[in-house]
Symmetry: C2
Subunit: 238 residues, 2 copies
C-alpha cells in the first residue's frame, strides 16, 4: 500500500453474490430482476453497496446472503470468488464489485427471507446460454462461479452443503453428477466418500423409500478437505 491520502471520485464498491443450489436435479443460480436502468427488467446477481463505512466486506456478503436465502449462515458455504473492476462494467459510474460464491441446499421458497425484491432461480446452463441476457458482466461472473464450484468439490467436502441436513450417499452423489455433468459409479463413490474420515457421520436412521433398500442417513462431519481428491475423468477444466 502506497503513501497518499486521496480517493478516486465517483468510485463505488458493491458486494455481489453468486448463490448456487440444486433444484429439480439442476444446478441453479439465484438472480433478481432489476427495477431501474441500466438493464431494467433483466436479471442480475443479487448484491448491494456496502451498508456503512464500517461494514466488513465479508460481513456484508454474509448479511446479503442470509437476507436473500432466509437461511442461517451455518447451513451455507460462503467464500470470496473474485473482484471485478473493468472500468465500463457499469455505465453509470465506476463500480468495483467484490463477488462471493455461496452454496445452499434447496430452499423452501425463493424469498423466504422476506426481502421485497423478487429473487428467482435459474438453471446455470440457461443463464449461460448465448441467447440469455444477464445484466452487466454477471454472465462472466456466473461462468467463474461454476468453474470454481466444479473444482472446489473435487478436493473439499463442500458438496454436502448442497444437501439437506440429513442426506444419503445417493443425494451426495447426485450433487457431484449434476455439478460435473457426468455420471459417477455409485458403488465406488459410496466406498470413497464413506472412507474419508470425518466426512459423513451416520445418524443411525435410514430413509423410507418408495422401493429399494433404505439408505443410511448421514450428517456432514468436521472434515473439510478430501484426501486424495475425487478426480473427474477428463482433464480438469480445459
Amino acid at each position: 500500500m502506497p503513501d497518499g491520502d486521496w480517493t478516486i471520485p465517483q468510485l463505488a464498491v458493491t458486494v455481489d453474490l453468486a448463490v448456487l443450489t440444486i433444484r429439480s436435479d439442476q444446478l441453479q443460480i439465484m438472480l433478481v430482476e432489476r427495477g431501474i436502468p441500466p438493464f431494467q427488467g433483466t436479471l442480475a446477481l443479487p448484491g448491494g453497496f456496502l451498508a456503512s463505512t464500517s461494514e466488513d466486506i465479508d460481513a456484508a456478503a454474509t448479511r446479503e446472503l442470509t437476507e436473500e436465502t432466509g437461511l442461517r449462515a451455518e447451513h451455507l458455504h460462503l467464500e470470496q470468488l473474485r473482484t471485478y473492476g473493468a472500468p465500463d462494467r457499469d455505465p453509470r459510474q465506476r463500480v468495483i464489485t467484490v463477488c462471493y460464491l455461496a452454496f445452499a441446499p434447496d430452499l423452501p421458497s425463493p424469498t423466504a427471507g422476506g426481502d421485497a425484491r423478487a429473487a428467482t432461480w435459474m438453471p446455470v446452463d440457461k443463464a449461460l446460454h448465448k441467447r440469455t441476457t444477464i445484466a452487466f458482466d454477471h454472465k462472466q461472473i456466473i461462468t467463474d462461479a461454476l468453474e470454481r464450484a466444479r473444482n472446489k468439490i473435487e478436493y473439499t467436502t463442500l458438496a454436502a452443503t448442497f444437501c439437506e441436513p440429513e442426506f444419503t450417499v445417493s443425494d451426495l452423489r447426485k450433487v457431484y453428477e449434476i455439478i460435473w455433468a457426468q455420471p459417477i459409479d455409485p458403488r465406488n463413490f459410496h466406498r470413497k466418500v464413506t472412507g474419508v474420515p470425518g466426512f459423513l457421520i451416520p445418524t443411525g436412521d435410514r430413509t423410507i423409500r418408495h422401493g429399494g433398500r433404505p439408505a443410511t442417513l448421514y450428517r456432514k462431519g468436521p472434515a473439510t478437505l478430501l484426501h486424495p481428491p475425487i478426480l473427474r475423468a477428463a482433464p480438469h477444466g480445459r
Copy 2:
C-alpha cells in the same frame, strides 16, 4: 448488483502486489518501506491507488508489477489473490485492497524499473515470523499468497515462472522443494515433469557445470495444467 446511485464517502480502493521470487535458495517476497505514517518506516507490500477512474484493476496490477520489477509481463505470472476489506485495516480511512499474486524469476536488481521507492526482498519465512512487523494486514496477505502459491504449483506449470527463460529439471525441482519446504526425489520428479506433454521444451543445449553430467536445458512450453497433479506427501495444507 442493486439499484441505487450513491457511493460511500471516504472509500478508497488500492491494488497491492504480493510478488514472490526465489533468491538464494529461498522464497522471497517484495516489500517496500513506508515513507509516511501510518506504519512509517515499516515494510509493506508494494501497491497503489487506482491511477485513474478509467483504469481496469487488472491493468493497474500489471502496470504496478512491471514498474516494480522492470520485467516484461510475459515473463511473469500475475493473478488476482483476494480482496481485503476489513473496516479498520487502514487507520486513516476506509481502504479496500484488491490484492494480486505474482511469480517472478530472480531479478538482476530489486529496483531495476527505476522506481524511486526502495523495493527490497525478504524471505517469506522471515516476513511471517512472529517478531517481524509488517504494515497493515499485509502479513495475513502474505500468508494467503504463500498458501495459494503452494497449491497452485501442484496442478499448474506455473513453477516454471520462477525460473530463468532456460532452465534445467533440477532448477525446476528446486522451485518445488523451496516452495513446499520438502525434498523431492530427483529421479521420479524428472520422469514426471518431462512426461507432461507441452510442459518442457528442450532447447537442444546443455548446461556447463562445475561437476556432474550436463543437464538438458528446457524452455517453458504451452501447457498450463498438470494432469495428474504433483501431489505433496502431507495432506494439502492443513
